[in-house]
Point group: C2
């Protein structure tokens, strides 16, 4: 069993109004040292695959088919091996 930790971020050229709103909220809370905020998604997939290469291919397919909008978003997949009993 592999666990894929996937970070999905807006491409640098895409405006991030949610990040701007969070930035303003942090300023209002007194956190002036925060200069910029970008909001993304974090997805954890538990994948039953024979080897790491196959698990990576499945995680990339999931991102490309469903999780990420590749016009606006980038994704990074990190894989770790986990015990099968962590499956829900």
């Amino acid at each position: 069993m592999y666990k894929a930790n996937i970070r999905i971020t807006l491409r640098p050229s895409i405006l991030d109004p949610q990040g701007k709103a969070v930035h303003h909220a942090l300023e209002n809370l007194g956190e002036d040292a925060v200069k910029r905020v970008r909001m993304g998604k974090y997805v954890e997939l538990w994948i039953d695959a024979a080897d790491e290469a196959r698990a990576k291919a499945i995680a990339h397919a999931a991102c490309e088919k469903l999780l990420a909008n590749q016009v606006m978003e980038d994704f990074v997949v990190e894989l770790e091996e986990v015990a099968a009993e962590q499956e829900a």
Copy 2:
């Protein structure tokens, strides 16, 4: 300038209906090898701080005050040093 990469995840005991919906969608797309999905948030903060310890304290304060709901969510902060010109 430091960049804090923050992963915010639902605590293991909290049900994740969004993750269940994504899991079903992946099954319908033929990705049967995916056995479990959990959805979280990924937040990038650019922090102007004198040293890494101070930047870490600011990132934790931002999570505790605003970004994470500590009743239901856990967060992990990873820091990296970045050039000041990456500021927006």
